[in-house]
């Protein structure tokens, strides 16, 4: 039984992981075990990346991008108007700068001149308008349509593009950083969704959807030597968690984007491995349809919120790689995170109390869930049903097929699971999934005060007033909302120790904001 030896000696791993999650949650990230990153980036080498996603049915149409393979590829071959920096600030990219009217309704973006596409052409203001128009209009099938619909008019003035919005929005530049909106070459006002051309750091030489892509560095990249340090990039879709780890261990890839959390402690022991957790705004939730009994009763919702063991979830489902959630979608690293809110924790007595408030001794509920909702979702529901029993809540877990989950279960059944990659700013997150009548208001929740605050805060340019409003909104969502958010999950990648990166790592998305091909280098 020598193979079993490590199990007994592995007790200490929990301590290690706790440390990891603490670090992961901090604002400034130094992934454990990383030798202090060398300040000087070096040019060279081919970065080989194994990605957990990527399907043979993916397409080059930016409106259709939804998985990390497409998004990672998009950031490797394209540039956006605005980049989100590693500290969450806005960095001008294809747009050289921007200016807002005092009511934040009219925005003028100046397009940088001399930004070259792989094909040799340079970016024009027309391209910018066409790239955004692609997502708008009645025939649009784009996933970005709902967030871009605030634009009522775009006019071109030399190298300036003037956006007029339906309502004031102080965060509008963040909207334009959305991964669906790369700047692409246009022809007669339309972009070509079958072309791989772009103005980003790498040129796509070869792409087979669901299998992989090969890229080489774009010689005419406008950022010059300050960015994009690899000579080439190979991206492979490796769906199976074990296969991904094996590929990394055996040196067939340099980086993998999603580590199987069940075995991460074992992977960590392999020589030269660096586990790379980043806690950002990604959170897992359990939305309840607030229109339907018994979820229409806030007491029932509160009972459920106290019947879930958040600590246990973070420990078991995330293996320590994450932090507990407080039933609102704003992450601890965000600008207006409410630091004064009391953290809910597992309290079966309180769950019982709320149940009695709604006149019940016990209640039978069903949750319909699949691992498509988030990795470990079914297990999380099973854990929930075990902990809820103590509070008088009998929760039956029905596993649904992954296939078809988003169309047949999510927003169809009254109690389900969900995940959100998180949005860079509070407004985008609240507007997308909590505003009354929003397409993705998955709990069909509506709260008068919340909706008022949302519109007011969006156009508010005074930082203190804004903060106050967002604090109150978090309070409302946490105590009266219809979504249980038990945990914020870290993005856990792993790489070998020849890969280097800057001191700070972006928390807005996985893979250093999906821009590691531009920001990392080989030491």
């Amino acid at each position: 039984m020598s193979s079993n030896k490590f199990m007994s000696s592995g007790v200490s791993r929990r301590g290690v992981l706790k440390g990891a999650s603490a670090i992961g949650g901090a604002a400034l990230l130094t992934p454990m075990g990383t030798p202090m990153a060398r300040a000087q980036a070096m040019r060279g080498g081919t970065l080989r990346v194994g990605m957990a996603h990527g399907s043979t049915t993916d397409s080059l149409d930016p409106g259709s991008w939804e998985n990390d393979f497409s998004i990672f590829l998009a950031h490797s071959s394209n540039n956006y108007l605005v980049e989100i920096g590693q500290d969450g600030s806005l960095i001008p990219e294809v747009a050289e700068g921007w200016e807002a009217s005092p009511d934040a309704r009219v925005w003028t973006f100046t397009i940088r001149s001399g930004v070259q596409y792989h094909s040799g052409r340079t970016v024009t203001a027309e391209d910018v308008v066409a790239s955004i128009n692609h997502h708008l209009g009645d025939d649009s099938t784009s996933a970005a349509k709902p967030i871009l619909e605030v634009i009522t008019e775009m006019t071109i003035d030399g190298m300036n593009v003037v956006f007029t919005l339906a309502d004031g929005n102080a965060d509008f530049p963040f909207v334009l950083s959305d991964y669906h909106v790369p700047i692409l070459p246009s022809n007669n006002g339309e972009i070509d969704v079958t072309s791989t051309d772009g103005c980003g750091p790498y040129v796509i030489d070869q792409l087979e959807q669901g299998v992989g892509a090969s890229l080489t560095r774009h010689d005419g990249y406008w950022k010059g030597d300050s960015r994009a340090h690899f000579d080439g990039v190979e991206i492979l879709a490796i769906h199976d968690a074990a296969a991904r780890q094996n590929a990394l261990i055996s040196g067939e890839v340099d980086y993998i984007d999603t580590v199987d959390l069940n075995t991460v402690h074992l992977l960590q022991r392999a020589p030269g491995m660096v586990i790379f957790p980043v806690t950002g705004n990604q959170h897992y939730g359990l939305p309840m349809d607030s229109r339907q009994a018994p979820y229409s009763d806030n007491n029932v919702r509160m009972a459920l919120k106290y019947a879930i063991d958040r600590e246990q979830m973070v420990d078991t489902i995330l293996n320590g790689f994450g932090s507990v959630g407080n039933d609102h979608p704003i992450g601890p690293g965000q600008r207006y995170f409410n630091t004064e809110l009391e953290q809910k924790s597992y309290d079966p007595d309180r769950a019982r109390y709320y149940l009695q408030q709604s006149g019940l001794d016990s209640i039978d509920l069903e949750i319909n869930i699949a691992d498509a909702a988030f990795s470990g979702a079914v297990d999380a529901a099973v854990l929930f049903s075990e902990s809820a029993a103590a509070g008088g809540i009998n929760l039956t877990v029905s596993r649904e097929p992954n296939d078809g989950y988003w169309s047949n279960v999510w927003m169809q059944k009254p109690f389900v699971g969900t995940y959100w990659g998180g949005r860079p700013v509070e407004d985008l997150m609240f507007t997308t999934a909590y505003a009354e009548g929003a397409s993705w208001n998955e709990s069909y929740w509506s709260h008068e005060r919340f909706n008022e605050l949302l519109v007011a805060a969006r156009a508010e340019l005074n930082d203190d007033l804004r903060r106050e409003m967002y604090f109150e909104m978090q309070q409302i969502v946490s105590d009266e909302g219809s979504t249980i958010i038990p945990m914020f999950a870290a993005y856990v990648g792993a790489h070998n120790d020849t890969l280097m990166h800057g001191d700070e790592i972006a928390t807005n998305w996985a893979n250093d904001g999906h821009r590691m091909t531009e920001r990392w280098w080989f030491g």
Binding site: A243, A247, P271
Partner: protein, 318 residues
């Protein structure tokens, strides 16, 4: 001989009918699947408006019989349509992957068929000996592990850090033939382990089944060596059921190995099929299903022809 030709003709006609019914069934099944292409494609980010726009654009708002007839008309003229999701022609999507699938299937078959025949004959020859029981138990153990798990075990054992073989069957960058054999050795070995037991057991059973026949008894009484008896007299008459099982397993090697493809990151048809079922990409599902069905029909036909040829009584029937 002439009736073999007429049999082949008849069976090919029946095969075409089978393909037609398969296409109807698959079409109906894709229709019955919860959610249509537009909803699946847009996934979590779908809104009513965008779903409706996508349906309009792809003609998914047409009634289903019209869509089927459209597809069939195209297919009969050799045009299998375009993938709904990335608009590439289905034939182009399938082409390269079909080659990969065939290569891997042929590779695995080249190891598995001779191996299982040899083991089966030896097991029949030394039936009930320790060798027989051990070979049997080992083969059964191998098939009673799920194939993805077998693959993991082989990877731990033969790949991994400093291992002999690569853990991924990565075919990118035009490898030479020898290099391809090397890179795909582990998946081929996994598939070999999966199919060997079935073929070996059938070989053994078919031979043993004949050993009680009078003519074998006769041969044995003449003083022939057991090996000669088995190979010269029993085996030819046992060929029909063995060929049948081999055909079934070859069909499996082509159509049933999606999990092996996933674990070894091998770009074959199985993964394409599962992906396109998941996204309800009907033309691709149809294309792959037809290839699988055709492979099955052709292998079955080949098996029947060979079985007939192996038995003189059937060749000169009536």
């Amino acid at each position: 001989m002439s009736h073999i030709w007429s049999m082949i003709g008849k069976r090919l006609a029946l095969g075409l009918l089978t393909l037609f019914i398969v296409s109807v069934l698959i079409f109906l099944a894709t229709e019955l699947l919860p959610g249509d292409f537009a909803e699946e494609f847009l996934g979590q980010s779908a809104t009513e408006e965008t779903v409706a726009a996508l349906r309009r654009e792809l003609g998914l708002d047409q009634p289903m019989h019209i869509r089927y007839i459209d597809w069939l008309t195209g297919a009969l003229q050799g045009d299998f349509g375009n993938s709904l999701s990335n608009r590439r022609p289905v034939s182009e999507l399938i082409g390269g992957r079909f080659g990969n699938t065939l290569f891997l299937a042929a590779y695995a078959a080249a190891i598995a068929v001779p191996l299982s025949l040899a083991l089966g004959i030896l097991a029949a020859l030394y039936r009930n000996s320790f060798f027989d029981r051990f070979a049997n138990a080992a083969a059964l153990t191998a098939i009673s592990f799920p194939e993805f798990f077998l693959a993991y075990i082989l990877i731990v054992w033969l790949a991994g850090a400093g291992g002999l073989f690569p853990s991924m069957a990565n075919l990118r960058g035009d490898p030479s033939f020898g290099d391809m054999l090397y890179r795909t050795f582990l998946p081929a070995l996994t598939m070999t382990l999966v199919v060997t037991a079935h073929m070996m057991r059938m070989t053994r059973a078919a031979i043993i089944n004949l050993l009680a026949s009078p003519y074998i008894e006769m041969a044995r009484l003449k003083g022939m060596s057991p090996m000669r008896v088995v190979v010269k007299h029993a085996l030819p008459n046992a060929l029909a059921p063995i060929i049948n099982v081999i055909a079934l397993n070859l069909a499996y090697l082509i159509t049933g190995v999606v999990l092996v493809e996933v674990v070894f990151v091998y770009p074959g048809l199985g993964q394409l099929m599962v992906d396109s079922v998941a996204s309800r990409d009907m033309p691709v599902v149809q294309g792959v299903a037809l290839i699988f069905a055709a492979a099955y029909v052709l292998l079955n036909l080949t098996a029947d022809v060979l079985a007939t040829l192996s038995n003189p009584r059937l060749v000169h029937r009536r």
